[in-house]
């Protein structure tokens, strides 16, 4: 069975074809020029004046669940006004058409009964004698499940559009006044629930327009299972083969007791109320997923949405990296929606801003590299994870004396405790050469690949090349984590110092700001290695790697400074140094982001592989 009803959420790639765009449903959602920059830096740290969008930023808005619900209501009211149906019907029709108002209006004008049947709002006209037998309204009296022969699914639960199999030729009038039967009292004839076989006379039974009656307990269990376990936003009647969909007021009447109803089990009522809330969230999620201008925040238990029309077209993703933030921070119970007190944000995952990519499923900021290349790189890393696993180890041997050295901070400038040899953790080369202009730890020497003649040495060269980039990629990730861990210890010390010395709270914040900046820049650096791996050789790549090297050098210097011993008397001097270096690091980061983003806008970057949306690579021996 193929039905247009379901929408695919397989790979998070929900883009509609550019030509087939939903016609401006939310285009009017005003793009404010509000600067979404929530960096936790004071004015001394600002490099670029606030309020001006940089070339590596996109315009976007963050919307709360209720703001999206308002958009939904606008659409629903619009449809109510045109069709003269009530809100719950309009809402089901819109959901059935994936919130495409224009197509809904078209279909409805064409054949209102076909679409209301297809959307599960009205029961189809009685089928012709040749049609398969449906379970009739008598199911309420049917107590033996064994007696029922299941009808085949070819009776078409949700006929595809255009299918007229179950569409009566004449147009019945739709009665919006009574979309579903209200809870009714048990009839005189004894009722046995066909699901749980409960036959108690006080049983509360409910049914939709189809009159398939079941007890309220079974409805509650069924709706809860559909909502909680299957995350469905369109739930069909429980009867076999019945295509009617439960309208929202019905779901609400089952899950939420009417005001004044006798109080039930409080725990159960709380659970049902949570299920109802979850259902409303599912409707919002469906609306958001149906609209290319919107994306739901991927952070756990966050219900915010981001609107970013400029990144809605797939074609835009070769020129922009749409990094957005929903405005909230933290996870689960410790989440804060506050945008106005960024200074109080704590470091680490728990307090991190909900930053994600609007254009792809990557749940972090992957600037400067575009989505297509970032995803290609992540796939490569997944495929080669075994090969590269050894790199993640936290210990290496000193190249001079072979003693084991453990890395416990973010700094990559290592000094062997035993022989005092200073070297670079990443390339294992002597540190003394790292400051000089001719040495470049970040660049891969492609010479080896050219010399390789036979297949085996060619594949070794290609593995070596990959490991060069992967090593640096993984190391920035790890170093960022290690410096956050280390900072947790420093923070305690700084706070103690605030008590024992004359320093103010503001004066001890410089370390935190620097650590945050290092973390941010290491993320940029991380992704520059994904980018460089795929960049075609040439001048452009050389310039890219110059910027990468300068940022890396600045970050390593600051990182090292952050690990220097802190004493109350050296704080003022340290503060000055750290502040200066932080500003410099920020500037280098701006340059990398700015230059790469401009390069995408100018189509300056060429790849050594085929990247979706870009020109094919020129023949090269990469």
């Amino acid at each position: 069975m193929s039905s247009d009803y379901e929408f695919s959420d397989d790979d998070g790639d929900y883009y509609v074809d550019d030509e087939d765009m939903i016609d401006g449903t939310q285009d009017e959602s005003g793009q404010s020029d509000d600067d979404m920059d929530m960096d936790a830096y004071g004015d001394d740290f600002k490099v670029v004046p606030k309020g001006k969008r940089k070339s590596y930023e996109v315009d976007y808005d963050s919307l709360s669940q209720s703001a999206v619900e308002k958009l939904i209501n606008d659409d629903v009211e619009h449809i109510c006004g045109i069709f003269g149906v009530d809100a719950s019907i309009a809402s089901l029709l819109l959901r059935y058409m994936s919130w495409n108002k224009e197509r809904l209006i078209e279909k409805y004008m064409d054949n209102p009964s076909a679409i209301t049947v297809a959307a599960g709002i009205t029961v189809p006209e009685p089928p012709s004698p040749s049609a398969p037998i449906r379970s009739g309204p008598s199911s309420a009296t049917q107590t033996t499940p064994t007696a029922r022969r299941p009808t085949r699914s070819s009776t078409s639960k949700f006929p595809s559009f255009g299918s007229s199999k179950s569409t009566p030729s004449k147009t019945p009038s739709i009665s919006p006044a009574q979309p579903f039967a209200t809870p009714r009292a048990a009839k005189s004839e004894p009722f046995v629930c066909p699901i749980c076989f409960d036959d108690s006379p006080t049983l509360r039974t409910l049914s939709l327009d189809c009159k398939h009656a079941f007890c309220s307990g079974c409805w509650t269990a069924y709706l809860s299972s559909k909502i909680r376990d299957e995350a469905e936003h369109a739930i069909r009647c429980m009867a076999e083969g019945c295509a009617l969909v439960t309208p929202d007021p019905f779901i609400q009447s089952v899950l939420v007791p009417e005001p004044g109803a006798p109080a039930g089990d409080p725990a159960e009522e709380a659970e049902n109320a949570a299920t109802w809330a979850r259902f409303q969230e599912l409707v919002v999620r469906h609306f958001v997923a149906s609209n290319p201008n919107l994306k739901y925040c991927p952070y756990p238990s966050c219900t915010n949405t981001v609107s970013c029309p400029s990144a809605a077209l797939k074609a835009s993703l070769i020129t922009v990296v749409p990094t957005v933030s929903c405005g909230a921070r933290g996870v689960g119970g410790q989440m804060s929606q506050s945008q106005s007190q960024p200074a109080q944000s704590s470091l680490g995952v728990a307090g991190r801003e909900h930053r994600f990519c609007f254009g792809c499923p990557i749940e972090s900021d992957h600037r400067p590299v575009v989505c297509g290349v970032a995803r290609m790189w992540l796939k490569k890393c997944r495929d080669d994870s075994e090969t590269a696993n050894w790199i993640k180890s936290n210990t290496k041997e000193c190249t001079m004396c072979q003693s084991t050295i453990e890395k416990n901070g973010g700094c990559n400038h290592m000094t062997c405790k035993k022989c005092k040899h200073e070297f670079c953790w990443v390339c294992m080369g002597p540190w003394s050469e790292h400051g000089t202009a001719w040495y470049s730890c970040n660049r891969y020497d492609e010479k080896g690949g050219v010399d390789a003649r036979d297949a085996q040495s060619k594949s070794r060269a290609s593995l070596e090349r990959y490991l060069h980039y992967y090593n640096r990629w993984a190391n920035h990730e790890q170093s960022a984590k290690l410096s956050l861990d280390l900072y947790a210890k420093t923070e305690k010390k700084m706070e103690d110092m605030q008590i024992t010395s004359a320093l103010t709270w503001i004066e001890v914040q410089f370390m935190k700001k620097a650590v945050e900046e290092v973390d941010k820049c290491r993320m940029t650096l991380k992704w520059t290695y994904a980018m460089a791996y795929y960049l075609a050789k040439g001048n452009e790549k050389d310039l890219f790697e110059d910027n990468q090297r300068d940022l890396e050098k600045a970050v390593e210097d600051l990182s090292e400074l952050l690990e220097s011993p802190i004493e109350a008397e050296n704080i003022p001097a340290l503060r000055q140094k750290v502040t200066d270096k932080t500003v410099y690091v920020q500037k280098r980061n701006e340059i990398v982001l700015e230059d790469t983003a401009t390069g995408f806008l100018d189509s300056r970057w060429k790849w050594n592989v085929t990247v979706d949306g870009f020109d094919d690579p020129e023949k090269s021996d990469n």
Partner: protein, 153 residues
């Protein structure tokens, strides 16, 4: 909820014991409300003449609100029927076990549907993605989100 599933299953079981199963379907084992076994055989003209297969039902407390886990037994020398919707590990791609499940359906109703799925088969072959699926399949077929690609099951 535990009471609903136990109550339903005991009701279904007593009905099977008193009225028996439809032709070609036999209850083999139902010692508890966790696992039941049936044999199933297609009567009359069909590609499966003379074949007897064993169907396993696994229930949890969410039955019948959500579907039971149903598969053909492929251990102890038993085999799954060769059918375009039956994988060699016994998993079945049938919409009534997935998104078309209705809490009104019963164990016997599932058996009858699967019996007629075999009866109407025109060519004995495994699903095209059999090898790939079987290699990565979860133990419980309910964990698989099958894509129901035709209207006949």
């Amino acid at each position: 909820m535990a009471s609903i599933s136990a109550r339903r299953l005991s009701k279904e079981l007593s009905e099977i014991r008193s009225e028996g199963c439809p032709v070609g379907i036999n209850l083999v084992q139902a010692d508890d409300f966790a696992t039941w076994l049936f044999t199933i055989e297609v009567m009359g003209e069909s590609l499966y003449q003379g074949e007897v297969h064993t169907l396993q039902f696994r229930f949890d407390t969410s039955y019948p609100i959500s579907s039971p886990a149903v598969q053909f037994v492929v251990t102890d020398g038993k085999q799954a029927p060769v059918h375009p919707h039956v994988y060699s590990n016994g998993h079945i791609c049938a919409s009534i076990l997935g998104n078309e499940w209705s809490p009104v359906l019963s164990v016997v109703a599932v058996c009858v549907t699967l019996q007629s799925m075999l009866a109407s088969c025109k060519k004995k072959e495994r699903p095209v993605d059999n090898d790939r699926y079987v290699r990565n399949a979860p133990d419980n077929p309910k964990k698989t989100r099958f894509h129901y690609d035709d209207d006949t099951v």
